[in-house]
Symmetry: C3
Subunit: 109 residues, 3 copies
Amino acid sequence: MRLVIVIVQDVDASSLSDSLTSEKFGVTRINTAGGFLREGNASFLIGVEEKRLGELMGIIRRCCVTRTQYVNPLPPIMEPGEFLMPYPVEVQVGGAIVFVLNVDRHEKL
Amino acid sequence: MRLVIVIVQDVDASSLSDSLTSEKFGVTRINTAGGFLREGNASFLIGVEEKRLGELMGIIRRCCVTRTQYVNPLPPIMEPGEFLMPYPVEVQVGGAIVFVLNVDRHEKL
Amino acid sequence: MRLVIVIVQDVDASSLSDSLTSEKFGVTRINTAGGFLREGNASFLIGVEEKRLGELMGIIRRCCVTRTQYVNPLPPIMEPGEFLMPYPVEVQVGGAIVFVLNVDRHEKL
Ligand SMILES: Nc1ncnc2c1ncn2[C@@H]1O[C@@H]2COP(=O)(O)O[C@H]3[C@@H](O)[C@H](n4cnc5c(N)ncnc54)O[C@@H]3COP(=O)(O)O[C@H]2[C@H]1O
Ligand SMILES: Nc1ncnc2c1ncn2[C@@H]1O[C@@H]2COP(=O)(O)O[C@H]3[C@@H](O)[C@H](n4cnc5c(N)ncnc54)O[C@@H]3COP(=O)(O)O[C@H]2[C@H]1O
Ligand SMILES: Nc1ncnc2c1ncn2[C@@H]1O[C@@H]2COP(=O)(O)O[C@H]3[C@@H](O)[C@H](n4cnc5c(N)ncnc54)O[C@@H]3COP(=O)(O)O[C@H]2[C@H]1O
């Protein structure tokens, strides 16, 4: 038995939780905050049998991996008659930090 | 030293915490949520000496083990003159998920 | 890789988080509560390379170690003409509980 601790952005938390429970993984969610940005994020505790660890990592990768999104920047306040073509800006979102711990003993009472 | 992570239903959280602290166990509570039902539940971090692990598991078992409760179902809306004898319904409550982790190093600063 | 779980008083949480991130440690904060006093406190998850564990413990010690503070007790309600010299009272604040766990596998996706 392994205990997997996964830290993801809030934006990916629900879809990760849904993907995992629909594949019959046991999942507990903790609302946490990043030390640097002080923004809310989500951490998951997932107890998993050793043989399903690869499958679990695959779901996390499909769901939360760091990816580039294009967002239209908010246009600056314009003078009358000025014209601006906003270019989409690249931002990084997502990402997951994963710690796999060994479990000495696991019980369901 | 072991770090025991116990996930229980909200309904059992306070009585578990009281039982443990009255037996001089160190206890920290985290408010969590189940991945499947999305309902609030409670997780506890409990650092414990190896020799008291059996006693700790005994308290968790007495407090939180899955048990059957009989609840009177809400009576359906009745026509005047109708009479219904509500039978109590069996539901499962409680339960605890326990992970025991090995602690490399423990300090109290 | 080690996963360090540190439980500190709320009063020390922000300064610990700032000290750690300014030294480039990865930090995730969990709002927790003490089992005995039922007061809010703070727990941190800190994934750290083995070779920086000593440095991490040093920052925790500088920031959160149990220390004596002198507080002026609230003066009792006095009769007119009475005079009382409040003596500062010693109280213990701070303190940190630290668990160091071994990490089998660590990934940043
Ligand atoms: N070793 C570790 N142990 C425990 N938790 C860990 C960890 N490494 C990362 N985390 C958690 O994952 C979140 C995202 O980290 P990531 O490295 O993707 O993204 C980070 C990183 O790209 C950057 N960052 C973090 N610390 C930094 C620092 N001291 N200087 C510059 N940039 C930093 O800011 C992003 C957000 O960081 P934030 O702390 O708010 O939020 C972090 C933190 O909650
Ligand atoms: N391996 C594990 N790792 C981490 N945390 C774990 C875990 N196994 C259980 N938990 C935690 O314990 C709570 C109770 O689990 P239990 O198995 O007693 O009771 C479960 C189980 O009887 C059922 N259930 C869970 N997942 C299911 C699924 N994918 N399909 C059908 N039933 C499910 O729903 C109840 C509530 O589940 P919920 O997720 O809301 O809440 C779970 C979750 O927070
Ligand atoms: N082995 C362990 N595992 C997990 N978490 C642990 C732990 N030992 C301590 N903690 C966490 O650290 C907080 C501070 O503990 P500390 O021992 O400094 O300071 C403690 C201790 O001096 C005292 N205390 C705790 N339990 C006691 C008891 N059963 N009887 C008498 N005094 C107690 O009250 C203070 C506050 O305790 P509280 O439970 O509210 O808050 C605790 C708890 O959240």
